[in-house]
């Protein structure tokens, strides 16, 4: 049974998103996703400063089994990537909601508006069951 945090927002592509300030949203992949992928060996990040678009690829995530696209759940500009994962990609498996976060994106409008189209924890749980 994979863990789903009640206070986060989710995408159908198994990313989570949460506001960490009035303009910045932190993004990662869910516990369900990391279980499906298996041991993560490399995360290809978008460049800091690059624009990302909701539902579009912003990088990739490689596990021992496969290389998967990393979709952005929101539209905005990348302001930070989790560089600790360059040396320790296993954090994505160990702490997908903590030290395994991937990217922080600054949105143009309010974070509430950017997160609104995403799934709540309950709705996300429904699609993983």
């Amino acid at each position: 049974m994979s863990e789903i945090k009640p206070d986060l927002f989710y995408s159908e592509e198994h990313e989570w998103a949460v506001a960490i300030s009035g303009q910045v949203i932190r993004i990662g992949i869910t516990d369900y996703a990391q279980h499906q992928l298996g041991d993560i060996v490399f995360v290809e990040f978008p460049e800091v400063g690059a624009g990302v678009f909701a539902g579009e690829s912003m990088g990739s995530i490689e596990s021992v089994k496969t290389v998967s696209e990393l979709y952005s759940p929101v539209t905005g500009k990348v302001v930070s990537v989790n560089e600790a994962l360059i040396d320790s990609p296993e954090h994505v498996n160990g702490e997908p909601y903590g030290n395994g976060w991937l990217v922080e994106v600054e949105v143009e409008g309010s974070v509430e508006a950017a997160l609104a189209p995403l799934l709540t924890a309950d709705r996300y749980r429904a699609i993983t069951e």
């Binding site: 490399f42 990040f45 400063g49 021992v64 290389v67």
Partner: protein, 472 residues
Amino acid sequence: MPQYDVVVLGGGPGGYVAAIRAAQLGKTAAVVEQEKLGGTCLHRGCIPSKALLRSAEVYHTIRHGLSFGIETEGSRLRFELVQTRKQAIVEQLHKGIQFLMKKNRVDVYHGCGEIVSTPGGEGGQGVIAVTDASGKAKQVIFGDLIIATGSRPRSLPGLSIDGTLVMTTEEALKMEALPASMIILGGGVIGVEWASMMNDFGVEVTIVEYADRLLPLEDAEISKELQRLFAKRGIKVYAGAKLLPQTLEIGPHGVRMQAERANGTQELSAERMLVAVGRQANVEGFGLERTQIRIERGVIAVNASMRTDEPHVYAVGDCIGGLQLAHAASHEGIVAAESIAGRSHEPLDDMRIPRCIYGRPEIASVGLTEQQAVERGHEVKTGKFSFKGIGKSLIHGSSDGFVKVVADARDDALLGVHMIGPHVTDYIGEAELAQLLGATTMQLGRMIHPHPTLSEIIGEATLAVHGAAIHM
């Protein structure tokens, strides 16, 4: 004056192969070469660069010996010995070509050749003047002429190449020591190979490419995977970046410059810069102006038999443009020699010429990319298989990459095969043969591939077109 049925101007892989084929067909033949037989391919291109790449790969493997269960403490790169090995390979092959010339009774004139007159011009006689290094000139009469003058590295307007800090591959191949860092201008075949090589030798590499992706002529998925793998190795790639030559600063410690990108200007600096923005056909300085030969977009115009607008004058290889590849040039040389001998032959089709790129991992492709296939009106279906599902690639120690097959859904024709992964250049020939024989993807997929081999991936990727890959 010495007289030959066929004189070839330029002794690279287009020229010397044409001369051998002409001699095989009973023609008297000579080659005029101003430097060394073997041309760019042997002395300044394919062979020396692949020799360096092989050393880079071995060094990488040794440094990662522990992943094979081998401790390799104390291993050390001796770049001067890497260069010695490369040079020994070049010299051995150079001797081989000299031997082939003797064996086939092809005379070699060392010097700079220039067309004096052509059989189609006034006087009706073909004459080449050859000036050797000491300035002595000699004239040679030809029945037919094959121009195979090759190409040279191109630069950008406003960018001066000093050969030390700002180099082309010609100088880079002769580097005596490695820099700590290098900017590579151009993310095409040459830039990508050098980036991979330098990175494996421990050099910090930044690639600047004007197009929005590396290898803009290859299938977009290949570019994407390569960029991902380069990012994994710490190679910086700035695609969609325009170099600003006026910002170039060359100082005692290296090179600084700026590149313009969609999201601002990028400052770049490194100890050295390699300019790898393509190659320019050699069409000047050998008397073309005295002929009716047409130059179109900087290259010599020829017909399907490699003949120029002058009767009895042919041209092959990089100087006629197209895919600037040694094996293409050699094949064109054979077509030209056979045309002269009155033999018929299949016309050359760029889509049948395999393209190989020798970084780590290797890239090989033949035929249409997915986008080209769509543009030509095919109903496109693709199949893709990852090296992660191939046992031999795990044994080999590199399971990055994939094979992508492009097919037409209506008749299952094999339109293109695009490979990125371990040793793919060694088995792209299988895909090419299947295309040549007109096999469908299903036929290729049903071929029994020996296990365990890397080539199993071709079977799986072609079966994947039909949703029938087994290990997926």
